[in-house]
């Protein structure tokens, strides 16, 4: 099986995630700013636990090669992405201490801890499958939005977000991750209990992504 099987097994949820109202409003520039700021703050808290999940992947590795694969992501997350995120958020008037003082919202807790616990209880493949909806989904969203008829470029304050995830750097990294995942799953039969379990993990993590978008929209309503 490969990553396309994972998506196909939860096509409805995957579409709900990648075409969520939050996403479409990013594209057309209509997203409520409070929703975006809530998302940015929660994403900062998310990144920390996401880095912990990559560290867990190194702990779970058996070979040096398996240890080397997640290292660049881990390093990027801890050294660059959080700094980058802080710089980007500063443009929106958010300071690092604002973000650190922010309590983790339910959706952030649900998604990050689901990935970590699934990875700890299962093996390295389970962990990578739980991590997959984030990288694959953001790559698909970026690619779709950059050429989407509803996407507004001029005057869209969120267009740089679309550029980031449709950009070569992110797309190449996500592609490399998918290739590694496909290699790991190559020997697994989609219809075996193991294959079905991986589909269930991918689906649940995808549902958590939906909740993550939704909590941004809900925050603006509250």
């Amino acid at each position: 099986m490969n990553h396309l099987d994972l998506i196909q097994a939860c096509q409805q949820e995957y579409t709900e995630y990648t075409e969520h109202a939050f996403v479409m409003q990013l594209a057309n520039g209509q997203l409520n700013q409070a929703a975006y700021l809530h998302y940015l703050k929660q994403d900062f808290l998310f990144l920390k636990h996401y880095a912990r999940a990559y560290a867990l992947a190194i702990y779970k590795a058996q070979t040096l090669e398996e240890m080397r694969a997640p290292l660049p992501s881990l390093q990027a997350l801890i050294e660059n992405e959080t700094c980058h995120h802080v710089t980007y958020c500063a443009q929106w008037g958010l300071t690092e201490s604002d973000m650190e003082a922010e309590p983790e919202a339910f959706g952030t807790v649900a998604y990050t801890r689901y990935v970590l616990d699934t990875g700890m209880a299962g093996d390295l493949t389970d962990l990578y499958v739980a991590l997959a909806p984030c990288a694959i989904g953001y790559a698909d969203i970026g690619k779709a939005l950059i050429s989407h008829p509803e996407t507004i470029v001029e005057g869209n304050p969120y267009h740089s977000w679309i550029e980031l995830y449709s950009g070569d750097e992110f797309q190449t990294g996500a592609r490399a991750g998918m290739d590694r995942l496909d290699t790991m799953m190559a020997g697994i039969d989609l219809n075996s209990p193991r294959g079905q379990r991986l589909c269930e993990i991918f689906k649940t993590a995808t549902r958590m992504e939906i909740a993550f978008w939704q909590q941004g929209l809900d925050a603006a309503k509250a």
Copy 2:
């Protein structure tokens, strides 16, 4: 420090949890049945991960005494409570397969995985503190509701829930858990970084309890 310090450090959240609309509607019998059924189904899924957390406590133990303490809870959860839950739910027309087919809601994922990941990343005390809002809170709710002026007994379909958690068996078990927790925290200064961290864990787990009640109410609206 002791468990009262944990509560006092998040008094607002603790009150929001123990006096949640879901709880007050259980007391006065006005709770929407769909909300209750959603709660029962999610609680079944919750129990499984709660049992996993007690198993984790045994993994994390250093002495035989520490291993013996959580064993009765673990055994009760796996052998009796899930069966008991199935029997109780049957009265409400829910079968075991209904419950197993139910997807885990976000609040269930958030709460259970927060406890498990906090316990895995921290030590045995962190784990027990993450578990504490459930036992302490349900004991406090049971005690408060059984003699609450707004509680309806006659014709209240939810009164047996109140009887269960106000009953001697649950109250005694919860008290024993609090005593053990107090012993574990006896040497920790509330104002030390360690003490403050434990308060943060208790507060976050309490917030997850609030989300767990809320998702029951929300399910009925959806």
Copy 3:
């Protein structure tokens, strides 16, 4: 694949383990008493970590059925076997405090922590395979020795050890464990990377069993 494939993939080590000098001297009654006492004390420390491994199996379970399977072993280890061990050891002049004061020998650390770390880093099947040489090996040793031409019954102070492990209770329990393991491994191809990894785990754990016997003999020489 099944448990016989695991044995066949490390036949030399498995024979070295199940026909170790320590074992043969138990059978003919020639075992140095200091070696046996060292073994008993280390086995007490071993049991604690072995129980932690069964608790880990419950943490790693996905279904209630998977949670129920290791519970009797866990309970027996924590409630009965350690007590039983203490009673048995008392006949040999060892008190519980003697055993608790005993530092863990290298072989005890190596074996128990290998099982726990392999189980934590891998999945539930990896954990059960790491645990397997103990149950399967002791069952095979018990069965072989009870009717072995070199086994002495009269005046052999170690004969009750042989009776314990050749007895119906232990044999039935071990057989049930093997059956569960065979079911778990049924879909795994021996020659796949997954199958080869399981063989490697079983072999390493078997080597740790050899070291565990050897440290008993070495203790008597020191």
Copy 4:
């Protein structure tokens, strides 16, 4: 308490470790080459699990600062030290595939898995204390041997080993690690159960270091 308290609480074992026959024979150049080669091969296997332990430290971190601290060590271990080790070993006629084909010896399993399991079951401080005898001890050994009256420079094939661990780079790194550990332990009373537990962890890990040296000497005799 600080790291000196840890050493003082197991002074005898710490001396046995840092002044082990293996170490003194490195200094005077009398070490059997087979013992050294065995040590090099096992050290390669050790490094992998040591890197896993640093990854575990990132998984266990709560703050970005705690995540950043172990990252350079992790990176150095995965990217440089294993390569460096391979290059160094090539001078001794060992290829990377020789090292990968080498079965892990008991002492290697015991030490690495003790650190990993202790760190997983306990908290971040437990993990760093379990890791401490390696960095502190090698720094102390390097410093002691470089100016030791019995140390031979000319014609000593092992002198570059002494140079490595007495060198500024290793000494500075080890000192930074000790400072971080001292900060973590600053609020812990040596005589509290927590303080005594940390001493027990340090002592056990130190005993595993002794076993690691000893297995090198034993390999040469076998």
